[in-house]
Symmetry: none
Subunit: 184 residues, 4 copies
Amino acid sequence: MPRKAVEPLRRAALVEATIGEIAERGSADATVARIARRAGVSGALAHHYFGSKERILLAAMRHILMVFGAEARGALRMAGTPEDRLRAIVRVCFSPTGFRDETVAAWLDFYVQARTHAPTRRLLTVYQRRLRSNLIAALRPLCDDPEAVAEGAAALIDGCYIRAALGPLNDPEGLVMDWIGGRI
Amino acid sequence: MPRKAVEPLRRAALVEATIGEIAERGSADATVARIARRAGVSGALAHHYFGSKERILLAAMRHILMVFGAEARGALRMAGTPEDRLRAIVRVCFSPTGFRDETVAAWLDFYVQARTHAPTRRLLTVYQRRLRSNLIAALRPLCDDPEAVAEGAAALIDGCYIRAALGPLNDPEGLVMDWIGGRI
Amino acid sequence: MPRKAVEPLRRAALVEATIGEIAERGSADATVARIARRAGVSGALAHHYFGSKERILLAAMRHILMVFGAEARGALRMAGTPEDRLRAIVRVCFSPTGFRDETVAAWLDFYVQARTHAPTRRLLTVYQRRLRSNLIAALRPLCDDPEAVAEGAAALIDGCYIRAALGPLNDPEGLVMDWIGGRI
Amino acid sequence: MPRKAVEPLRRAALVEATIGEIAERGSADATVARIARRAGVSGALAHHYFGSKERILLAAMRHILMVFGAEARGALRMAGTPEDRLRAIVRVCFSPTGFRDETVAAWLDFYVQARTHAPTRRLLTVYQRRLRSNLIAALRPLCDDPEAVAEGAAALIDGCYIRAALGPLNDPEGLVMDWIGGRI
DNA sequence: AATGAATGAGGATTCATTCAT
DNA sequence: GATGAATGAATCCTCATTCAT
């Protein structure tokens, strides 16, 4: 019987703690020590597993993107018509899983970090491209200029995130779907 | 003839330097020393004028909001019809004055700070309310649910900012106006 | 048939790794973890066998001194005349076994540690005394002031070590022998 | 009247404290905090003036080399004959100014650091080359193979330093001069 | 008005060492 | 015998902030 693998547990706890800490005080003021304490381990262990604060933050972002990606793939797999696919994408953007306060806050923080931090930017770019191509693919059968619509939809989604980060938002999914509805 | 007051010059230089520094390295990594050097003064002087780093950052934000507000008021004064007013508001959001790379970056940074920093949040709230009420006022004669349209337009504007912060954006003004055009 | 004892193997590997590590990065920057990895074991095991980093370093030095001592005894046993004994001692100082780059580096490092670290100093003193008495014994039949010549020869040998540590050295044995030759 | 320049004072105090600290505990265990305390200032100030621990250590070495160089130049200027020049060089090597316990300890430490630290090595190389060329120039009129003699003399000098670092040394100057005397 | 000097507080990071398995 | 897990104690370094001039 294999010894219980504790590393994944610790990593997950640290990632979760990082997201929480970013949400609570911003990644600027998140310290490794506080993240570690929140995860119930020592700061040294956080370094042992991740190597540096930067890598901890990146791991947190990667986690968020991974969760989002997995959920999106799952939703797309069950969607039949282009309309379904469209709705699936938008719905996942605001699904309770990924649209928690904490996640939104971290998400926004990453957007800002991405401006000045290349590795963060790379991660974000990958995600943005994927979202864009998914949107365009779903929109292609439905409208004349799928690229323009996708561009606008993506901006609107981002705008909803930014506003959600500052206060509760009423039905962002509806807002985005309405907007798209007016274009197709 | 009175000697030229030097204080306003210094303050302006520091504010400008702050915005530049935020754009270049993010407010997280902006240091008073670097801001001061960029403004051509000593760090001690920056403190002398503003009292603390926090106040320097707030002054920079206040400056951005003030410039925006002044331009908005000017544009609205010249606008006759509701349609004109609407276009004026949106145009100012993306006017070359306020939509410079540096400003957009700082703007976004403030959004994130606002999440965890009450004074920043207060400033931002004031601005958001003003934008919202201006939009609603202009929209009221033009559509049934001005509040919902204003909400969406504001989100879209924010979304354009967030995207502009990460790369060049093609005609955001047109995007927003189109969106509104579809609703009225 | 007894299973091969593994402990001596591990100890030897760790000692060798320690010397290599000291040569490569200096004992200041040698870490137990790196030494252990180089020896192919875990850092915990290094502690298990030696008890502390200090003891690992001391073991490495002891090893070097032991190798040197053994070779010296061997060479002296085969030497007949005083001249032979003299040459034997000097030759061993620069024999390929002990005058490897790695060993010289470690040797020098120990010299420096000895200044501030009593146990290291004790080891070094024993070695120095032995070298000195060997030299004097060999010199006694050959010159008037064997102590002074031994002192100078020892200094010259040390000087060759220090220079060898920083770059290749041309025939140090000849240099020392010449020097002694001029005194006897 | 110029404000009293305090920077050079602080720098000098820190350099002196660094040498003392190296002598007392070795550069491995010298901490910026301790060096600063010994100099009567805060650790932060040490960083303010030197930038990093590495640079503090290098400054200390540079200081030692500078003092040595200055003394050597002075002594050479007063020396007439080649013999005088030779004696001047050797004398300076063991002059009370530079041959204090503290300095010798630091010197030796630098030798060891030089093995693994390129900037230190560069400094040392410059010094070694200068010493060598001075010796050769003085020896040229006096012997057949000035390079070989210089090489040996330099090794002997280094050897005296290494031994002096570990205990008191009896008339190293005489030892070196004797050695050279036998060669010319 | 303006600055260099100076520092305390705090943060990332490293590392020897211990322990449970 | 051997290791990964875990940590406390340092240590370097940064930075906002204060102060004397």
